[in-house]
């Protein structure tokens, strides 16, 4: 499947975000309004120890995704209390319309000792179009379970025929490339279902087959109805040496399904405007699909996991 690059459309350095760092605009995910497209993303700050914490924000853009109208000027939600699953950051935030509300499935992060971190998927609800969110409880709606032991993240939901579906990822294992290296994680895309969007049951089925090797890491699934079937985009990479080695870093993938259960994986190629060194020349990650009228847009991050913003491509 080919998407044509439009280019980078948002750079966090250009706008007065609430975080002091003003870098990182990760995992853009959109809600379409009559007069604008609100793109939620997360941006980073540093805490007292110099470590990153991610916070949700949004940017409103014109319906053609050409112009920025405004950015959020107050926090959408607070991070969790000491010991809560989202104490050390929320990344990403995935909005979905449910009735008149916007529900956001958040991924909350906590720092661990033996490994860097763990995560869970929370729910927060907005009654004001996504300006502010109230958390549904202090804990996650989907966390570790018997067969999905850690790193439950990246929840994306849609409603179909009266049920909620969620695609997300969970950690299979932590590995070490050598004894002195910090542990690296291996994670895969999974599927859960729910009657109410709050109580989720993992299906336990493999969603996307590995292409690289068994340690392939798959992240950030997003699904839309397209051309009579279901289209999923995601990103994938090698488990180790992926941060600065472009040959092993994130690339975009896609898959199609007729029943939301069985998925056929294929390539996703970005064409055109391939400036070198461009903003997405070394890495492409955290994709999201947004249908506006007849047009199917792809939002995604480029180099350095979205440190300097996100860009746009369009299905031809």
């Amino acid at each position: 499947m080919e998407f044509q690059r439009v280019g980078k459309i948002f750079d966090p350095r250009d706008y007065p975000l609430l975080t002091e760092l003003r870098e990182y605009a990760q995992s853009p995910q959109a809600v379409v309004f009559d007069d604008r497209i609100r793109i939620f993303f997360t941006t980073r700050d540093r805490d007292g120890t110099g470590m990153f914490k991610s916070h949700p924000a949004y940017v409103d853009m014109t319906l053609d995704l050409q112009h920025v109208m405004r950015v959020s000027d107050k926090p959408l939600m607070k991070l969790g209390e000491r010991g809560c699953f989202d104490e050390h950051g929320i990344f990403p935030i995935s909005p979905v319309r449910v009735g008149k509300q916007i529900w956001a499935y958040t991924t909350g992060w906590t720092r661990r000792k033996a490994v860097a971190t763990d995560s869970g998927i929370g729910l927060a609800v907005s009654d004001d179009g996504g300006e502010t969110f109230i958390k549904y409880g202090q804990g996650p709606v989907l966390g570790p379970s018997l067969h999905e032991p850690f790193l439950v993240s990246d929840g994306f939901t849609l409603q179909h025929e009266g049920r909620f579906h969620m695609w997300y990822i969970y950690g299979k294992r932590w590995i070490r490339s050598d004894e002195d290296s910090p542990p690296d994680r291996v994670y895969k895309i999974a599927h859960a279902m729910s009657d109410d969007g709050r109580r989720w049951t993992p299906t336990g089925q493999t969603v996307i087959t590995d292409w690289l090797n068994i340690d392939e890491c798959q992240a950030l699934p997003a699904v839309v109805r397209h051309d009579g079937s279901w289209l999923m985009v995601f990103c994938y990479r090698h488990a180790t040496d992926f941060r600065i080695n472009p040959a092993r870093g994130y690339r975009l993938g896609c898959a199609t399904s007729h029943d939301l259960v069985t998925w056929v994986r294929s390539d996703l190629t970005l064409t055109g405007k391939d400036e070198l060194p461009g903003w997405d020349s070394e890495m492409q990650c955290y994709p999201h699909l947004v249908q506006v009228g007849e047009r199917l847009y792809l939002l995604y991050n480029g180099n350095e996991f979205g440190r300097f913003g996100f860009g746009l491509a369009q299905l031809l």
């Binding site: 969790g80 209390e81 000491r82 010991g83 809560c84 699953f85 104490e87 050390h88 906590t110 720092r111 661990r112 000792k113 033996a114 490994v115 763990d118 869970g120 929370g122 729910l123 549904y136 409880g137 202090q138 804990g139 996650p140 709606v141 966390g143 570790p144 379970s145 018997l146 067969h147 999905e148 032991p149 850690f150 790193l151 950690g171 294992r173 932590w174 070490r176 542990p183 994680r185 709050r198």
Partner: protein, 320 residues
């Protein structure tokens, strides 16, 4: 008020030799009854690592059924390995509770890992034994009960029971962390979940008991038995912070219920308290009730939450 006759310290880990992983502590006793002996599971620790940190293993001691003060044997190994890198139970398996289910023995346990902003967190795992409880293995690498919207903190101390053809899991749910003298302390209350298969759990989502001591009261080890037409629960409770001294540490409490949901707390009826001297003179904790051959026993921990082992008391009369 119930009247318990203390039978003394039954098992002292310091007296066991040749097991490097069993240096001190014998915590959270839980029993499995056999024809002529009673297997008592407990959690123990090797010495601390170079950073002063502990891990916990669970193992067992077999006591003579005819005289529970007599030790028959101590297990040669921990009955379950610690979890792998990054797992919820990488640094400890404690407490541990068992129940027979046909030919197998099922266990429910607290799995411990270490965190940055809190010393640890805990989630509840399960394991199964096919050799009468000598060894256990996991049926999956993750927990069966972990943080949820209404239970966002530590989940630990499971006690497994079966009443009315259902499975009940009584456990401890954290409600916050309180920082005192630079140390984050978990504040926790008692909860229950129910299940039809022992694997998929419905949480009732409410505290079983109100706090009595203070808002930061901590409650643990909810051990429930059915006797004389009602449910009886023994548990322990303490102050939330600065509890490592004799006046703010664990005491054993008591409540009863007709329906497992609404509990009447009557600590004044528990009938067991600290001794004036000896191994249980500062605190008593982690009660476990065993009804055996017409008698009702309570296994429990003494000072420093079982650092020097567990003891036994026998009820004079019956639970009514």
């Amino acid at each position: 008020m119930f009247k318990w006759k203390k039978l003394g310290l039954i098992f002292k880990p310091q007296e066991v030799k040749d097991r490097h992983w069993l240096k001190e502590f014998a915590q959270a006793p839980a029993t499995l009854v056999f024809d002529d002996f009673v297997r008592v599971y407990f959690s123990c620790r090797p010495g601390p690592d170079k950073y002063g940190q502990y891990v916990s293993y669970t193992t067992y001691v077999d006591l003579e059924r005819s005289d529970l003060t007599k030790i028959r044997a101590v297990a040669q190994e921990p009955i379950l390995s610690l979890g792998g890198l990054g797992s919820f139970d990488e640094f400890g398996i404690y407490p541990f509770s068992v129940i027979r289910d046909g030919d197998v023995v099922r266990a429910y346990y607290g799995g411990w890992t270490r965190c940055e902003s809190t010393p640890y967190t805990v989630a509840i795992g399960t394991a199964v034994s096919h050799d009468d409880g000598r060894t256990f293995h996991r049926i999956g690498p993750g927990p069966i009960l972990s943080q949820s919207p209404s239970e966002a903190y530590v989940l630990s101390g499971p006690k497994i029971r079966r009443f009315n053809e259902r499975w009940q899991l009584f456990y401890v749910a954290g409600i916050r962390w309180s920082v005192h003298a630079g140390r984050a302390e978990s504040i926790y209350r008692l909860r229950m979940a129910e299940s039809s298969d022992g694997l998929n759990w419905e949480r009732t989502g409410v505290d079983l008991l109100d706090a009595r001591l203070e808002a930061d009261e901590c409650q643990a080890s909810p051990d429930v038995v059915f006797s004389g037409g009602r449910y009886h629960m023994f548990y322990c409770y303490k102050y939330g912070v600065d509890f490592r001294n004799s006046t703010r540490g664990y005491r054993i409490g008591y409540a009863y219920s007709d329906d497992l949901m609404r509990w009447s707390r009557h600590d004044e009826l528990a009938g067991i308290d600290v001794s004036t001297e000896g191994w249980d003179s500062e605190s008593i904790a982690y009660p476990h009730i065993l009804e055996l051959d017409g008698d009702t026993y309570m296994f429990y921990l003494g000072n420093q939450v079982g650092r020097e082992g567990f003891g036994l008391a026998r009820l004079e009369g019956t639970l009514v």
